[in-house]
């Protein structure tokens, strides 16, 4: 079984500032890692995913994340945020050979970008 912890429930930041959203996971097996974004009143959209290979993963909208196996983390970063980045961000994991291919999500981090 896996679990995911997103340490910050809310992250306020000013426009054009950098941001990091933290994600830690625990698992007894190797995992695939994902970040999803949920804009108000919408479904989830995939930002990026780590499957294997390079630990730095680039996604859409200028976001990137780095997989750190020793720290079991997959923090999401953006060097300069926009107002339009205001949304809920979810980190998710899936164990290799997970029956049913089901994702386990963290509790979410609300990114609030202020002008």
């Amino acid at each position: 079984a896996q679990s995911v912890t997103q340490l910050d429930s809310q992250v306020p930041v000013f426009e054009e500032a950098p941001v990091e959203l933290r994600c830690n996971y625990s698992s007894s097996v190797s995992v695939y890692l994902f970040w999803y974004v949920q804009y108000p009143n919408q479904g989830l959209q995939l930002l990026l995913k780590y499957l294997s290979g390079s630990t730095l993963v680039k996604g859409i909208n200028g976001f990137e994340a780095e997989f750190n196996k020793s720290q079991t983390s997959f923090h999401l970063r953006k060097p300069s945020v926009h107002i339009s980045d205001t949304a809920e961000y979810f980190c998710a994991v899936r164990g290799h050979n997970n029956a049913g291919n089901m994702l386990t999500f963290g509790g979410g981090t609300r990114l609030m970008v202020k002008p």
């Binding site: 919408q42 499957l51 291919n101 089901m102 979410g108």
Partner: protein
């Protein structure tokens, strides 16, 4: 040309009723899912289903049952609705292969039980 669609978008009903939420995907995927998002935004898998097997999260009450008339649809039936069933329900789909598949989510159905 919505990839994953759900109906209705909003559903308000009384305790004890039976209701269904429909989900359709036009991506040709072989696996579909249902997730529940509670009032604190916590997302939890309920079911995973492809044409071969149904995987059920053990915490899901048996009042919830998925029904798949064909590969493109996975509807969610809920019997004897309870107040605690109020949540946003998301359908998702993916094409399962040897490498981690991407799940595509629908817009959600907000269920309110009075």
């Amino acid at each position: 040309d919505t990839a994953v669609s759900q109906t209705p978008k909003y559903l308000v009903t009384q305790m004890g009723n039976d209701k269904s939420i429909k989900c359709e995907q036009n991506l040709g995927h072989d696996t579909m899912y249902w997730y529940k998002q509670d009032s604190k935004k916590f997302l939890k898998i309920m079911f995973s289903y492809n044409n071969k097997e149904l995987i059920i999260n053990e915490t899901v009450p048996n009042r919830f049952s998925p029904k798949s008339p064909d590969k493109a649809h996975l509807n969610l039936h809920i019997n004897s609705l309870e107040l605690g069933d109020s949540a946003v329900y998301f359908c998702a789909s993916s094409q399962v292969n040897s490498v981690a598949d991407t799940q595509y989510f629908g817009p959600g159905t907000r269920l309110t039980v009075l």
